[in-house]
């Protein structure tokens, strides 16, 4: 995957680049807003990671200009501000996701990969299939093989989100944001409890589990 990183802090930038490189992504780096904007509009990237506060030109104005030009490359905004209202302004400016510093790299990586996949047409699918697990968005039915699985509405949305991003790591925060629409931070393992209940319904008694815990990062559903 080809990623553009616009970040003025050298240490952060080189750390992110190295880490993205280790998981097999090609990252281009711009250290200020002008250069970043020039690179973003002249080359094709799959995802942009843009710091909000940059020298010469701030991150939000870069995204606004790109969107005005018809550039739809998914953008993840990094911010030291991180207040609720900042997230709203960031998304309103055309950003696709918002991550407040300090963050864990696993969180950043998971979000970047989900963003990159967002452009794929899978978004509009009416049903998802992972192995023998099948979720029908229209009838709200879930089947594993021939067995019907009865899910609560929230469990259904949880599974739907996981299956839409099958094969990708989904962090606890992403689940909280996307399934519950909560943008705050529980101290307890509330997501883990919900996941273990979902797992019990899907994987119990099965030889081959589909729901996997990715240590230090989050969850993933895959064959």
């Amino acid at each position: 995957m080809k990623i553009l990183l616009i970040e003025d802090d050298r240490d952060t930038a080189s750390y992110i680049m190295q880490a993205l490189d280790e998981v097999g992504h090609v990252t281009h780096h711009a250290a200020d807003g002008d250069t970043g904007y020039a690179m973003a509009s002249s080359m094709d990237y799959e995802v942009m990671i843009i710091d909000r506060m940059l020298p010469r030109r701030d991150g939000l104005s870069i995204i606004e200009s790109l969107r005005a030009e018809g550039n739809t490359t998914p953008a993840l905004i990094l911010s030291a501000l991180g207040e609720v209202d900042d997230r709203v302004t960031g998304l309103r400016a055309g950003g696709d996701d918002y991550l407040a510093k300090p963050y864990a790299f696993s969180e950043l990586l998971a979000r970047v990969e989900v963003l990159a996949r967002r452009t794929a047409p899978a978004e509009a699918a009416t049903s998802y299939q992972v192995g023998e697990l099948r979720l029908d968005r229209l009838s709200h039915g879930v089947k594993r093989g021939d067995n019907d699985i009865v899910l609560q509405p929230r469990e259904f949305r949880l599974l739907e989100y996981l299956m839409r991003h099958a094969g990708q790591v989904v962090t606890r925060t992403m689940l909280l944001e996307n399934v519950w629409d909560y943008h705050f931070d529980p101290q307890t393992n509330v997501i883990d409890v919900h996941m273990s209940r979902l797992r019990a319904k899907i994987d119990r008694g099965q030889a081959k589990p589909l729901l996997h815990t990715v240590r230090g990062a989050g969850y993933m559903i895959r064959e």
Binding site: E83, Y103, Y182, D185, P186, Q187, G216
Partner: protein, 473 residues
Amino acid sequence: MSRLGRLWRTTTFQLTAIFIILFIVFAIGILGYIAFQSSINIQQTQVRGIERELNRLEREYRRGGTRGLVVAIQRIARGAGPGIYFVADQNGVGVAGNIATVPFAVLDNPGQHTFTYQRDRPFRASDPEAEDTEGVALVRSFILPSGYRLVVGRDIVERRGFAVIIFQAFFWGVIMIVILSIIAGVFTARRVLRRLDAIADTSNQIMSGNLSMRVPVTRRNDEFDRLATNLNAMLDRIEQLMQAMKQVTDNIAHDLKTPLTRMRNKVERALHGEMDGEAARAALEATISESDQLLKTFNALLLIARIEAGAPASAFETINVADMLADLVELYAPVAEDAGLAISADAPKGLELVANRELVGQALVNLIENAIKYAQNGDLTGGRENQVTVRAYAGENRTVFEVADKGPGIPQAERERVLQRFVRLEESRTEAGSGLGLSLVAAVARLHKGEIEIFGNDPGTLVRLSLPGAPPQ
């Protein structure tokens, strides 16, 4: 110089000086006016007196002719008093009267005149000055049909004397005013200086590090006392903040140092290969989860700081309270169930609140998590249902949230303290958590100008978060 100069430079003293000058100007004006009016009045009285005498003398003249007039004048002139009488023949030679001569200009021109003359007798026996003084006469002169001249008037030295008296009174009055004002000015200026010096001394001591000093407050309850009370309140707040900061710094040092040290040790052991691959991997995973916990702590700290700096009002929106509570309880129901607790939400349908959704949500999450965390440890209900209750209702001009549990509760004495950052009760030190949960709730309450109160729930804890903003119904 320095003391006097300081006194002079005080506002009080300068104001006093300005008032002295203004007062003198006013006094001059008022006294001048009084003197002027009085002198006019006296003159008018004198002129009227002269006219009355003229009328009388005219009657004498008509009855007795020139001779009768002269006799009358001679009779009148023998008496004492301020009156001046003079009769001259056609050539201006005095025939009768109580003064020796009258200038020809006065005799020849009928009408009103003023001239000086030589007194030849005192007006009153008691008037010592009158012996040999020049008099000033205000007279009417008159040419009789016989060609004789009649002059009737009054000595007006008395009137002049009146002006002198007024002027003297004025002069001494002004001097008294100036002296008294200066005394009053010095007195008040010194009083003000003393009060200000007390404040300056206190602030000097505070600047040099003694934060416990306070500005003295007298029982007069004047503007200085109000200032002093305000300053003291400010100082209390500063001292509190300083202490809070010190405490936060200490706690950060303690609460963050411990996990960091633990992480460092784990990584070090993994690095030096004292473990096999699997154990090293587990150590690294533990490190990651521990650093995630640290990040959470930092995020909570930052969030509190941001809330205390004041979140923008644009983030306020209308919240459907019942839906919000139902969602939260649904989110936490499995956690509560795993902990052997029941959790329930209770809020009237249609209850709405204008607030920052995310922050109120976070505050309720913190309260619910606390309730679950501490209630699962000590079931003191003696077999009764161990229940966490989340309730919301419309209070007077406010929306009240209550989260109640049946856990071990918080001792009365500690209820205020647990709202501070990093404060954790001794019994819960071993629990997971940052000690920031309730401080965040308190910060959210402050942001919404609401309150957080902690009560006993007999047994357990009831936390009441009340946010102003009348529900729209």
